[in-house]
């Protein structure tokens, strides 16, 4: 492994060891709650659409909305400041503190203030800052950074926090329980709040027409922070503005469900500052509230810091719709195992961190962690504003690729890469051009398989290409699916066929897992369809996952051109590999003209989805193989995002199979990810969840839809793994 990869692998291993368990436990719990809350809520999809549309409009109108906020805040007697960048914001805030002679400031959790490192600026100006959110307080005491958008200290267990507090505060009786720790923190922070000269909050939303800010918390600290000290400063990103209370409702409903899995958060405070609540002067405890001479003062600081430029960037713009609920992070298999200290940049973390960090600090800021996104797409349906997070990751990866310098080991991947994107890192070029590699491998099989097994070859591959030594490499088949198909006789169309279907042979099916391709052909024919095979052109999935968008575009064009005459002739397209189906339905939206994408997306099906359709439409299932063994089925993450995994389960169950299915987020392999030396361990750690689900199912046949899952399960269980369509194969 190269030094760079080794360093990455070490960091990941360290986080797996130190934070992995607490992160995993806490996120598993949060996810269960989140899925339940969404399940209970019928309006979820409709409100996502609505929220998305509201954000699209609000970001488009942002400059006008900012001016409207200015008018309404000033009309209420408050002050608005739009800060260009961190330094500008900090200067303004420290000036306010200075004008109030403030010695202490209490603060409610705000990622935006983390972004501008406001605490440091205030401390430097002689103001003591206290975090009142208990999670943030823990971090402040520990002097470390947040690891999650909404659960900043999610990576710490109760024992950790108890040890930390016992050491720092040295109580007479050591803290043990969460109750004791909470009671201590509450009292400690309560005193700070009573004595504070200023309060600072973030703002989850800002309403333009009234100047109302919305704060969402469970502890109640934002309320105390905002209304106890006489001076309140709210700091937030300029993108948080919504036109009015009408547009607020969908967000209030969504944010708690996608963030913590609560139907609604305990406190949704909607303050129109300066608030009319009386001032509280704890120094004169017996005078009625409001009788001190305190006057309420309010400053809203809206931070640009690159956001207005992001509006102009067609690809990064969507990031501005983000409401920081953290659901994308929680639904991510890798994040569940290593947490935010691996999965984020200076401030933001999780799936959307790439968009935020790239937008606020430049693409290089995302370089460190962007590769941890495997493109599994599990976050896509989680996002309340329907941001295509994997696509943002792909785009940033592509932009980073462009900056890589060509390497002296070019010869290793010579012949594998098209000319485009030839400055891309070798590892990426290798994985991004799997089709070419597979074609070569198949032509030279079994020699290629044999050489690939040799120790020295594996060392070289590890060192220069970053291909993990631990992984078994794909075994290329001498006879490809296309060759087999072409050699079949008769080749005349099936005379009584009711449907015409074009089977798409992805590189794995064509060169490696040829049996599943044959099975698909035979199953479709047995069900009365006339089957043709498309040309074995790569879908672009492999280069896409390496951020090689140009190469992917070329391949998408070639696939579209190849399929076009068939679609024209009324063929349906059946796809064996779920990630290719996802490319056709999702990513091609970005790569093909709209009409071409729509037509392909509408007419292509997961092969088992297609089988389901044939059976529903009267095809005779008795022509298929009878069920023999009970099965343990792991569907594929992209298949689940598309919502097509249910067809496989339905077909198998209707056909009489005894099926157990896994519900883990991801197998951990996700295309090339698990092959990469630096991620091998993480990949196996993520796979552990799947392993546990099926650990007691050793009498069942292991079944998986995706190639990566097949390989990962093969490694995890040491047993053969079958594609579902092979279970139905009536045989030659």
């Amino acid at each position: 492994m190269s030094a760079e990869r080794r360093r990455k692998a070490e960091k990941i291993r360290h986080l797996l060891e130190t934070e992995g368990d607490a992160v995993h436990e806490n996120i598993t719990h949060m996810n269960a709650e989140r899925y339940d809350a969404i399940e209970r809520f019928d309006d979820f999809e409709a409100l996502r659409e609505e929220a998305r549309a509201i954000k699209e409009d609000a970001i488009a109108d942002l400059p006008a909305l900012v001016e409207q906020v200015r008018e309404s805040v000033e009309a209420n007697g408050g002050h608005l400041y739009v800060a260009d960048d961190a330094a500008d914001a900090n200067r303004y805030i420290t000036d306010v503190a200075d004008s109030k002679d403030a010695d202490t400031l209490v603060k409610s959790k705000s990622m935006t203030s983390e972004e501008i490192e406001m605490n440091d600026a205030l401390e430097a100006a002689g103001v003591d800052v206290w975090e009142t959110d208990l999670g943030e307080f823990v971090l402040q005491v520990a002097d470390e950074g947040p690891s999650h958008l909404i659960g900043p200290s999610l990576h710490r267990s109760r024992e950790d926090v108890a040890d930390l507090f016992n050491e720092v505060f040295d109580p007479e009786e050591p803290f043990e329980t969460a109750e004791e720790l909470t009671a201590f923190a509450r009292d400690y922070l309560g005193e700070k709040i009573h004595a504070a000269d200023m309060g600072m909050t973030g703002a989850n939303f800002v309403l333009a027409d009234s100047g109302t800010i919305t704060l969402v918390t469970n502890e109640g600290n934002a309320r105390k922070t905002a209304v106890t000290p006489d001076t309140h400063v709210a700091v937030t990103g300029v993108e948080k503005i919504l036109p009015s209370v009408e547009e607020l409702q969908p967000f209030v409903e969504l944010i708690s469900k996608t963030a913590t899995g609560q139907d609604i958060s305990q406190y949704v405070s909607m303050f129109t500052p300066p608030v009319d609540s009386p001032t509280i002067d704890f120094e004169n405890p017996d005078d009625p509230l409001g009788s001190g001479d305190g006057e309420r003062e309010f400053h809203l600081v809206l931070i640009d810091n690159g956001r207005l430029d992001m509006r102009e960037d067609d690809q990064l713009k969507e990031t501005l719709y983000c409401i920081r609920c953290g659901a994308c992070a929680n639904s991510c298999g890798n994040f569940q195992h290593v947490g935010g200290h691996a999965f984020g940049g200076e401030t933001y973390t999780g799936g959307i961190a790439t968009g935020w960090e790239a937008g606020l600090r430049g693409e290089e800021a995302a370089d460190e962690f962007n590769d941890l996104c495997t493109g599994c797409s599990r976050c896509v349906n989680a996002c309340p504003v329907k941001i295509d997070i994997p696509w943002i990751n792909t785009v940033v990866r592509d932009r980073l690729n462009g900056d890589a310098t060509p390497s002296e080991f070019e010869f290793l991947v010579e012949g594998l890469t098209p000319d485009a994107e030839d400055s891309v890192d070798l590892q990426k070029r290798l994985f991004g051009n799997f089709g070419t590699l597979a074609e070569l491998g198949s032509k030279t099989a079994p020699l290629s398989n044999w050489t690939a097994k040799l120790g020295p070859v594996r060392s070289l591959m590890d060192e220069y290409l970053g291909v993990s030594r631990e992984r078994d490499l794909p075994q290329f088949q001498r006879e490809t699916l296309v060759e087999w198909f072409e050699s079949r006789r008769p080749r005349a169309p099936n005379a009584d066929a009711t449907r015409k279907v074009l089977l798409y042979p992805d590189a794995y099916t064509n060169y490696v897992l040829v049996e599943r391709g044959k099975a698909a052909v035979r199953v479709l024919e047995a069900l009365g369809a006339h089957v043709e095979l498309a040309s074995p052109i790569e879908s672009g999935r492999a280069p896409l996952s390496q951020g090689m968008i140009d190469t992917a575009s070329e391949q998408a064009d070639a696939v579209a051109a190849d399929l076009e005459p068939y679609l024209e002739a009324g063929f349906d397209v059946a796809v064996i590999e779920p990630s290719d189906l996802a490319a056709f339905r999702r990513e091609y939206e970005y790569l093909l003209p709209e009409a071409a994408h729509d037509r392909l997306a509408e007419n292509s099906y997961d092969v088992m989805e297609y089988v389901y359709g044939l059976l529903e439409n009267g095809a005779d299932g008795s022509t298929l193989a009878a069920p023999e063994e009970p099965v343990a089925y792991h569907s594929h993450c992209q298949q689940r995002t598309l919502g097509v995994e249910a067809y496989t389960e339905a077909v198998l169950e209707d056909h009489g199979f005894d099926v157990v299915t896994s519900d883990v987020e991801c197998c951990g392999m996700a295309g090339s990810f698990g092959y990469k030396s630096e991620y091998y361990e993480l990949s196996m750690d993520v796979g552990e969840d799947l392993y546990e689900q099926f650990a007691d199912e050793d009498d069942r046949t292991l079944v998986a839809s995706g190639t990566s899952c097949t390989e990962q399960m093969g490694d995890l269980f040491g047993r053969d793994v079958t594609h579902p369509v092979e279970l139905l194969d009536p045989g030659p």
Binding site: N26, K224, D263, P288
Partner: protein, 167 residues
Amino acid sequence: MSTALSTFESSLDRLEVGWTRTTPDGFEDALASAIDPPAVGVPLGIDGVSLDGTAVETPPTPRLLREANTGVTRAGKAIARYGTLVVDSDPAGTEPVSLYPPTHVAVVRESDVLPDVESASDHLGVRFADGGSSVFATGVSSTGDMGALVEGVHGPKHVHVLILEER
């Protein structure tokens, strides 16, 4: 009984928030059993019921905020679907009184119970346009930041709702 009201009551049950249905005549007794003295309150502004002559001290002072066990306020509206109280801030101190003491007793008129968040938009719109502030308070304050769920952090640990039937 309106469906919003019964939904509200079952939402409160689900949140494990106590509630009592009462009438103006029964109000003082219901209040007396709901509070844990010492109690601090703000005038409710509801015809036919008052905190005068009850054990609830008014007006609120900083000391009462710190030392009272119970804070009594009105909730301007309630949202049936989630068991949410809409606590409207005012110069009398409804916001801090509902927040500081460990128990919050909220009085809500039956006719102020709305079905869902959407139906509260009008109420909020009018208030915000006027410079007003409101809080959706649902259940009790809680945190999971210390490694297990703990109730009662910066906000109240107990909430009790007095639902006032009107004549």
